[in-house]
């Protein structure tokens, strides 16, 4: 959709945001995007949504001072802004007044410059450093004094006498290269400070130098368990901007593929979850079914993990004639096996004790922390993008939005398990009715987006994934931002794990099911 952005001055920003939050119930901060508008200055775009009325609002604020940019924080209104604002500080050097923790989040603390600024030369100033990375235990807070000048204050993250354990960055059950500095009291977790960026590949910056069709390849590699859906979001965003209509056949294929991808992802989730809680046998069960699905994927587009299937205006290849038959066989097969998964794991005393009542996130926290996807729905938040902003064929198929209210590891686990069945249902509804038609709409070889801001969200396997593009009318985008579905999940680990046992940290992390390359981008 095209975004209609209202501009605010930095002085009125905080009050206006508070008003929106309280009067119009804008309690979900979807996105907080740092921007570099060159001459105009540096700024931030805020995307808000109300979970009660479904209303959306987009606002922006600009500061002309490029040397010392300051913008008031909104982290006291939405908890998720805390990590988003650190990201903006890391990439653009904008300091947020009143933010308690202004540290870099993705890049090393001794990194020079702010890479996403248009005038920055990140590679020139930052050769490969092979010394161990510094990790500070204190942080700086910037605040506005009464006379209008900016003061600084030192905040402590960990005291010297605190017992801090490093989980990661190379750890078998953090699902990638996540580093959590965990403060312990005996076996109880007191605080988690995530250190990200071990797989920060600078995708947003690379995109600025690529053309639109070239950009597509990178979206697959963000959250590789949602490769299909990520690329779907990017294609839809571009198609809506250039007003390109795709044929019903493509819509059918895309919807089916999205759901198959979701099934594959949740099967891996089950494998990882069981492995992390010590039930290694169950791991082999879902990988067996996943291989069946991989075979279908491979037959149709040649790739197993990274498919590169969606294109602007269609899909790369038509589906094979036996596709429907194979998929139906697969659906029947998984339904039969689904019971087997539950036999081996669910109901087991050990599994239940490690899941029920562990790692609870309340509804209000889930919304404030922006925890979307099955994890957020476990806390009773109806946040499925397929229902909120239907895209592709999701307004024509019947499916249930799985919501639980307990908010614990068990609820998150069961949400994913039941979503497998719902996804199977969606696939079975569509698979017999794929209409004839072309699989690729005709378009010009060079894609140019009109001037403006565009945003498209999809429901990936683990939450809302959004693509934001700002275009100046060229064949390259001016700025691309991805709403990571995993970043809020990692941020929520601190809330979920406080007061829990250290061993449960792994199980809670597994139930969140984050994928690190998507968080770090």
């Amino acid at each position: 959709m095209t975004l209609d952005i209202k501009t605010l001055t930095t002085a009125e920003l905080h009050d206006e945001m508070l008003r929106l939050r309280q009067e119009r119930h804008m309690d979900f901060l979807v996105n907080l995007i740092g921007m570099d508008w060159g001459e105009e200055g540096l700024g931030v775009i805020y995307m808000l949504e109300s979970t009660t009325t479904g209303e959306t609002a987009t606002l922006k604020t600009v500061t002309a001072d490029r040397e010392n940019p300051y913008i008031p924080t909104v982290s006291d209104i939405w908890q998720i802004a805390k990590i988003y604002e650190r990201e903006v500080y890391d990439f653009f050097g904008i300091r947020f007044l009143g933010h308690p923790d202004m540290r870099r989040i993705f890049l090393r603390e001794d990194w020079v410059g702010y890479p996403l600024r248009k005038d920055d030369d990140p590679e020139g100033e930052n050769p490969l450093r092979m010394d161990n990375e510094p990790l500070a235990d204190t942080t700086t807070e910037y605040y506005l004094k009464e006379d209008g000048t900016v003061g600084t204050k030192e905040n402590v993250i960990f005291q010297p006498e605190d017992h801090v354990v490093n989980v990661g960055p190379q750890h078998p059950s953090t699902h990638g290269v996540l580093h959590m500095r965990t403060q312990l009291e005996g076996e109880t977790v007191l605080k988690i400070d995530p250190v990200l960026g071990y797989i920060h590949r600078g995708v947003e910056k690379i995109c600025e130098s690529l053309t639109y069709p070239q950009m597509l390849a990178l979206t697959d590699r963000l959250d590789y368990f949602s490769a299909m859906q990520n690329r779907h979001a990017m294609c839809m965003c571009i198609e809506k901007a250039i007003e390109l209509e795709v044929s019903p056949r493509v819509q059918y294929i895309r919807t089916i593929m999205d759901e198959l991808q979701r099934i594959a992802s949740h099967l891996i989730y089950y494998a990882c979850m069981t492995m992390d809680t010590g039930a290694l046998t169950a791991f082999f069960y879902t990988f067996r079914e996943r291989e069946e699905l991989m075979k279908i994927f491979e037959d149709n587009f040649g790739g197993r993990v990274i498919m590169n299937y969606n294109t602007i205006g269609g899909v790369m290849y038509d589906i094979r004639p036996d596709f429907a038959q194979e998929v139906k066989k697969f659906c029947k097969h998984v339904r039969k096996r689904f019971k087997e998964y539950q036999d081996i794991y669910t109901g087991n005393v050990i599994a239940e004790q490690r899941m029920i009542g562990v790692g609870t996130i309340s509804n209000a926290d889930a919304i404030s922390l922006g925890v979307t996807g099955p994890s957020g729905r476990a806390s009773g938040w109806h946040n499925d993008v397929r229902k909120r902003h239907p895209y592709a064929l999701y307004d024509q198929v019947n499916f249930k939005e799985i919501v639980r209210t307990e908010g614990d590891t068990n609820a998150r686990h069961w949400n994913r398990m039941e979503e497998i069945l719902e996804s199977l249902g969606i696939v079975e509804q569509l698979i017999d009715n794929i209409p004839e038609g072309e699989y690729q709409a005709k378009r010009k070889p060079i894609v140019k987006l009109p001037e403006g801001d565009f945003y498209q969200a999809v429901e990936t396997s683990r939450g809302e994934f959004g693509v934001f593009i700002e275009s100046k009318g060229d064949k390259n985008p001016y700025r691309v931002h991805f709403r990571s579905n995993g970043l809020p999940l990692v941020n929520a680990m601190d809330t979920a794990c406080r007061g829990q046992k250290f061993a449960d940290l792994i199980a809670i992390g597994a139930s969140m099911d984050f994928v690190i390359p998507d968080i770090d981008r």
Binding site: R129, G176, Y198, I199, R221
Partner: protein, 212 residues
């Protein structure tokens, strides 16, 4: 009088390997000045054992690690080749499987893990990102090829490579190991640059502790 001969892998015939020249050169080099009968025979036995029980250390950062998981599962089954004992501790591993993009922030961590491994040790670079930087070569935060920081033995390109490609790469390494002089001169022992430094530091610490 060359005692070191062509390495054999049961499941793939010699002709089907793509890079036989390098190995043959290696064999010629090793055989150039003749070999000790006893040592070479012992080598053969040791290398046979070593190459068939490789304990890899998983260093999975992104997509390629998923294919590694698939390799561990039933269909592709690593255990058939003796690779199934994946370790997460560098101290227990023979080789490190670098799967996925290595960023500037990760590079020192990876180097440290590599340094912690016991000799003889091997590196396999898996996936386009690890070999060259892949689709992210333009990035400001990606190491353009893991060979910039580690000595790589086998490259497995692909994005991500299929499990079969993984196996091919692992078998290449097996062949490479089979022609090595384990007891002889070409043992891949890494020189420790910091040995003197570390010893001095250790002494200092002991002295300090004694004083305290």
């Amino acid at each position: 009088m060359g005692l070191i001969s062509k390495p054999k892998i049961k499941s793939i015939p010699y002709e089907e390997f793509k890079d036989n020249e390098t190995l043959e050169q290696m064999i010629d080099q090793l055989n150039a000045h003749g070999t000790n009968v006893l040592v070479a025979s012992a080598d053969k036995l040791i290398n046979w054992g070593r190459s068939n029980s490789l304990w890899p250390m998983n260093f999975g950062t992104s997509c390629c690690a998923i294919e590694l998981m698939a390799m561990g599962a039933a269909r592709f089954d690593m255990a058939r080749f003796g690779f199934e004992v994946t370790r997460v501790s560098p101290r227990q591993a023979d080789l490190i499987l670098v799967c996925g993009t290595i960023t500037n922030k990760m590079a020192p961590v990876l180097k440290r893990l590599y340094d912690q491994m016991a000799d003889p040790k091997y590196v396999i670079a898996i996936g386009g990102c690890t070999c060259t930087g892949g689709p992210f070569t333009k990035s400001y935060h990606v190491v353009k090829g893991v060979d910039k920081i580690l000595p790589v033995d086998v490259y497995v390109p692909g994005c991500p490579p299929r499990p079969e490609a993984f196996y091919y790469g692992m078998m290449q390494l097996q062949r490479k190991m089979k022609v090595e002089n384990y007891l002889g001169t070409v043992n891949r022992k890494q020189k420790d640059e910091h040995k003197a430094e570390a010893k001095a530091l250790q002494k200092e610490i002991i002295n300090q502790e004694q004083e305290a």
